[in-house]
Structures are given as structure tokens and as C-alpha cells.
Symmetry: C2
Subunit: 231 residues, 2 copies
Amino acid sequence: MENVRVQVEPRDVLAIPHFASLTEAEAATVAPLLRCQRLAPRGRLMTEGEPCAGFYLVRRGTLRLFRTAPDGREQTLRIVGPGETFGEVPVFDGGPNAASVEALEEAVVVLVPAAVAQVLVERYPAVARALLRHLAVRLRAFNELVEQLSLQTVQQRLARYLYTEARETGQLTAEGVVIARRLSGQDLASLVGSVREVVARSLRALEDEGVIAVERHRYVVRDLEGLRRYL
Amino acid sequence: MENVRVQVEPRDVLAIPHFASLTEAEAATVAPLLRCQRLAPRGRLMTEGEPCAGFYLVRRGTLRLFRTAPDGREQTLRIVGPGETFGEVPVFDGGPNAASVEALEEAVVVLVPAAVAQVLVERYPAVARALLRHLAVRLRAFNELVEQLSLQTVQQRLARYLYTEARETGQLTAEGVVIARRLSGQDLASLVGSVREVVARSLRALEDEGVIAVERHRYVVRDLEGLRRYL
DNA sequence: CCCCGCCCGTGACGATTGTCACAGCCCGCG
DNA sequence: CGCGGGCTGTGACAATCGTCACGGGCGGGG
């Protein structure tokens, strides 16, 4: 098991996509201002509505951003892994945290305090440009999410998730494209905007159609083109 | 009827929230680079997936940003009126238009070409800061929309729409808070993420509960607090 | 004034989704 | 190894939502 550094170094700064344009010397002045934080599985990093500390870079592990309804149901907004950032909204609109964040597994994150981010935006046009690009990319992704939630069935949303996973992380085998099951039924349900029972039924329906096989620790996509036709 | 100026003047530049920090002299150098455009009711300004011209300011009238499913159903993402901007996403992420845009009534818009916006961001930190804020605000609004579409019923979403309208544009009368009906049934349905029949039934249900009255050209909110309890 | 087109509300019915309950399996811990 | 907790799939049932069809009203134009 790797011994996790508690100190933030210049290379951590440069690993943040928004700050990739900084020089080594510039990164060295920023590094002491950032904070490294470790999370246990299911550990809560951020709660929607509370004051914002800053935005985060994921150094290790996987986290889930989500919103919670009064009845306890959750909608996962996004799942983030190593090299990705999240939490920028309140840094730039001055409001409270826009979502809650929890770790799906043991994780390590680097906090960029809001004031630090704001100074870097003022001082470096390339940082501002990168952040504008990032927020635009996030907005586009939300456009897609809104469309899916409003206009597609759960089965279609599930098919899209599997199709995307197959293309991004799938392993081609003789049986088909193998996708490791990295989310619990509950977490997958909140990602596609439903409940676990409906997701299980939809998985079964896709299996009955012959496009996928559902196993305990993995899905096998037998017919990628067939899966795409659900989109 | 006002004679609409075809030429863009410095005051139009300064009316764009992102550019409000420019001086009159700076605005005068930008004005000749912008383009004024008039739209008929239901006129199409932008189509999702096509190349991006730039972002727009609404000078007059009301427009609707939306996404369309293959079966023709539409989800309205946002309705924009005078003084508001839209279309920034592709300017900053370099992709195609993220949504389609049509006029709900006769409208006049000002186009800020993508290249112009990008130069101003590089040159003026205050412009960059304002745009970051704008995109963050939009992301937060999408967070809310995603939550509503996933976790709330149509009736709840409708109640939220009415509650918001009552507080923002409502007129207090002896009967209650009067809201002018400015959207057709179809457009309201696409805004709350449903179909017009379901919206009509939900309106009827709210009326039967006594919290609103539904009339041809207006809604009357009889019990604002009662309406809020649906949220 | 009349006619036509568009919008609207409503009801019947089907489809999808969510809730509840239960049994079985797997994994981790003592 | 055994037990307990968490996860999972499944079925029955209820609730919500969407589709289809139709009749009525309103506004604009001839």
C-alpha cells in the first residue's frame, strides 16, 4: 500500500487541469496554500447548502456528487475519479455548496481554497480560460443529463450508461466487452435517476434481449451495436 | 411601435452583464464587432449540434432554450428575457451549439461573436470573472433542474414554477397574487418536463386544493404559503 | 357575421415507474 | 467456521405519467 503524501507539492498543483499552464516556480508558490485530505469509504466531504471551502482535485479513489430529496431519494450528478476536479460552482458564484460529495471508496483529495482560486484567475488569463472551459464542459454535460432524465426511459438511460462504460473502460474478450461492476445497485440507480428495483428489471430486460449478460461482478456487452440502438 | 436600432452602440455593449466593467471608450471599440438580429415569433435562432456563432444578449422579447428528443418531445432548459445572455457554452468549450433557441414572441438579440468574447476574456480579468460567475450560476440552476426532474412529481414542479412566478412577476390583488399566463400550455409543459395534458390536470388538482385559480389569461395564487408546501 | 385554425380541458386507457416485502447469496469479521 | 449485515433479484401492487381522441372556446381574417 502506497504511503500517501500529506504535503502538497508543485506537481500536485500542475496535476490540476485548470493550473496546468503554470510554471514550476509558480506552482511552487501555490503548493503550500493547498490542503490534502483523506477520505474513508462512504466518507462525506461536502454537504449541499453548507458554506464552501473551495474546489477539489481527486488524487486517488472515486467520489460521487449528488442531490438529496426530502424523502431521502438521491440523484447522482456525477462520479469523479483521479485527475478530475469538482466543487467550482460556489467558488465562482459565491453561494453555498451546490451538491453533496461522498467517497465511493478510500480516496485522497486536494483542496484549492476559494480565495486561492480567485487570485489565480485574476493573475493568469490561462487559468481563467481553463476554468471557463471546464465550467462550459460541465454545463454541456448537464444539458445531456437534463435531456435524458426528461425525455428517456430508465432502460434507455441504463443502456447509455453501459454503452459509455463499454467504450471507456470495457475490455474486449471472446464473450464480448467486459465491464467491471464498480457501483452498487443503489448507486447505479441514483446515477440513472431511478430506484434499484427498476434498474435490476431493466438490466434483466436488456439481458433477455440478448445484448448484455449480467454477472455478479461484471456486465458483458454481447452486442455493442444492439446496445447503441436503445439510445 | 419603437423603431429598433440595427446598429450596436456602446450602451448595448455595457448592457451585457459580462461586459459591464468596461469603460465607455472600451465599449466603443467593441460595439462595431457585435451584430443585432431581429426574430419573428417562433423564429429559430440556433439549432443544437450546429456550429456556434457566439453568445447572445436579449435586447427585447423572450426566447426559449430547449433540447429535442428523436420522437419530437422537447425539454425547455431555460426561458430568457431582456438583459439576459445565453449560448456561452460552445464559445468556451469549442463544441457545437448545446441547445436550440427559438423566440416566443418578436425579439431582438445582440450577437457577441466567439472570437470577440475570447479576446475580451484574455484582456480583461473582470470580464473573465463575470463570465465565470455567470457559468457557475447557470450550473447551479441546472443542478436544481436535474434534481426536480429526477426527484419531484410534475405537480411539484408546476407548483415551484407558479411559486417562483408569483414572487418574481406576480401582482398582489384582493383575490391573491395574479400571474399573467405568458406561456402556452405546450410551452409550460416542456418547461416542467411533461406533456400539456398532464400539466392541465395538475393545474386542475392545484385548483381543487384551493391554492390557485386557473383562468384563461392568468393564474391567481390564493394561498402562496399553501403553494410553497408542495415544493 | 361566419368560418377556420389553434389551443385547451377532459376522460379512457396503457405504459412506466416506484413501493413494499421477502428470500437468497456473498463477504467480512470474530 | 459460523453468523450477521448488506446487497440483490423478483413479484405483487399502487401511483404517476403519457397517449389518444374528442368536443368546445377563442381569436383573427374575410
